[in-house]
């Protein structure tokens, strides 16, 4: 193998060296933590993905050592390769934060915000993104966009209103199944994922579109309304599968397998593609060799500590304070300041009965 020259790149004041040809986003992922821009459409395992959602926009404040001029516009970090001596601002750039807030608002104006009935809730990248960048309330005063319903068959549930048109499922079908039957139809704000003719998607690898979907547009029909993901216990397991690697994550409650997904890395990307048989047909614990608890290391509801300890939560590197000279991340609100229920000095476990509102009355003395 020929020697790849190493380029020095500084992102939010943290400098690392990466091989030439690395994108800004992947360089930032090497640093980790908040320095890594959010990515709703880019998927490292899907060729041609990225550039569309615009959530990963960053500011290039210095082009390179040779040509230090800044880039005139924000660039999509997932599709821009680093140059030697490049300096990039992500969370340290007000322009970036402003633009990203704008993108999130755009993604949400027509989104149904039906998280309470959405199976993706808890592991939804749009939820995470809105939590970090969204604002309270909406400035959009019109009826939200609706689509005609399409049935994609027994395995995959399509909710087009939730789709953000990342194209990941299109790339997945192209690159995994070689026989794509769904695509993006129509254009502009009416573009939709569909098959044109009512058609059930049944290719042996098509189930992977569920795992790549960043939102709840494509969900597992066999798991539909069965349980909330944060009540389930993820377990790594494998089986001897003639079609795929057979390496999966089982989502259990007690001994019952509620759903099967591919294993995902810390960026939410599939580690090994799995086949439909493993995903949809093998719902008995006896079908699998259990390896042990799966580490979930994303900033999302399922990682909020419900199974910390027994499963073990792997926290991502925190870089926010480091790049902001010690400033702590701004919370939307401090729950302790608005709710007596969460006042830490009240120890509910010491009561020998259900807690009552009088228990939370502020001290009168």
């Amino acid at each position: 193998m020929s020697e790849q020259p190493l380029f020095k790149v500084t992102i939010d004041n943290i400098t690392i060296e990466v091989p030439a040809g690395t994108t800004i986003l992947n360089a930032a992922r090497k640093i980790g933590g908040e320095v890594a821009p959010p990515a709703m459409c880019y998927y490292s395992k899907l060729e041609g993905s990225g550039g569309k959602c615009r959530t990963c926009l960053v500011e290039v404040s210095k082009g390179s050592e040779k040509d230090p001029r800044p880039m005139p516009k924000l660039v999509a970090s997932c599709r821009t390769t680093v140059m030697d001596g490049m300096e990039v601002k992500n969370i340290t750039s007000e322009k970036v934060i402003d633009a990203r807030n704008g993108v999130v608002e755009f993604l949400l104006i027509n989104h149904p915000l039906d998280c309470p009935v959405c199976d993706q809730a808890g592991e939804c990248h749009l939820q995470d993104l809105s939590y970090n960048h969204g604002k309270e309330g909406t400035r959009f005063e019109f009826q939200k966009r609706v689509f005609k319903k399409h049935d994609l068959g027994p395995y995959i549930q399509l909710h087009m209103t939730r789709c953000i048109l990342c194209y990941r499922c299109v790339f997945t079908a192209d690159q995994l199944t070689g026989k794509r039957e769904h695509g993006v139809l129509d254009r502009g704000d009416h573009a939709e994922i569909a098959t044109f003719i009512e058609k059930s998607l049944e290719n042996e690898f098509i189930g992977n579109v569920i795992d790549v979907c960043p939102v709840g547009a494509l969900t597992d029909k066999t798991f539909r309304f069965k349980n909330r993901v944060w009540f389930l216990k993820p377990m790594d397991a494998h089986r001897d599968c003639p079609t795929c690697s057979g390496k999966v994550t089982l989502w259990n409650r007690g001994d019952e397998v509620y759903r099967v997904t591919a294993r995902k890395d810390q960026w939410g990307e599939v580690e090994d593609w799995i086949c439909n048989t493993c995903r949809f047909e093998k719902k008995n614990t006896s079908d699998w060799v259990i390896e042990g608890p799966r580490l979930i290391d994303r900033h999302s509801v399922i990682a909020q500590g419900h199974y910390a300890g027994s499963v073990g939560m792997h926290k991502p590197t925190e870089t926010f304070e480091a790049v902001h000279n010690g400033r702590k991340p701004k919370l939307l609100m401090d729950i302790h300041s608005v709710s007596n229920v969460n006042r830490p000095e009240i120890t509910l476990s010491k009561l020998d009965r259900p807690a009552h509102s009088s228990d939370f009355k502020p001290n009168q003395d």
Binding site: E181, H182, L185
Partner: protein, 166 residues
């Protein structure tokens, strides 16, 4: 069954021959135009599948393209399609009045077809005839500097042609 005639197939082959070996998909837009013209002014699913087969591409690749471009009609349209431009330069020259007048004359609003299947009205965005506004596309050609009188004459002309062809 949808099938190109010998003559249409010759045209199909001419269209495909413009592109390098193996890049026959490039002919998709012109071939869809040819198909629309050949099969009643619109593209049925059967027609789209036929085009996919001829060009040796996946049907979804044809659906994606056919739904993207505004000139492909995916539903049947009248024999005469009035496509009235309504963008800024035409608007300031009275395109709204033309649309209203067509409704007055034919009783059709944008997107509708007359009961006799003769006329369909469609509003479209800028067709590049801003200096000759208001205007509409009718078939292959533009009708420009529209007035109520001109609209009358066009409707009359279409009716005559339709009668002559029946």
């Amino acid at each position: 069954m949808v099938q190109f005639s010998q003559e249409q197939l010759t045209e199909f082959n001419r269209l495909v021959s413009r592109y390098p070996e193996g890049k026959q998909k490039s002919a998709l837009l012109p071939v869809l135009h040819l198909a629309q013209q050949s099969f009643g002014g619109w593209l049925s699913q059967e027609t789209l599948d036929y085009v996919a087969e001829l060009l040796k591409i996946k049907p979804i690749e044809v659906y994606e393209v056919a739904t993207f471009y505004s000139m492909y009609n995916l539903k049947p349209v009248g024999k005469y399609l009035f496509e009235v431009c309504q963008t800024g330069p035409c608007m300031i020259k009275g395109s709204d009045d033309i649309v209203a007048y067509i409704y007055e004359k034919l009783g059709i609003k944008p997107g509708e077809t007359t009961a006799d299947g003769l006329f369909t009205l469609k509003t479209v965005e800028c067709l590049g005839a801003c200096g000759y506004a208001p205007m509409m596309q009718l078939g292959k050609h533009y009708r420009e500097h529209l007035t109520k009188e001109k609209v009358d004459a066009i409707i009359e002309e279409c009716r005559k042609n339709a009668a002559a062809n029946n």
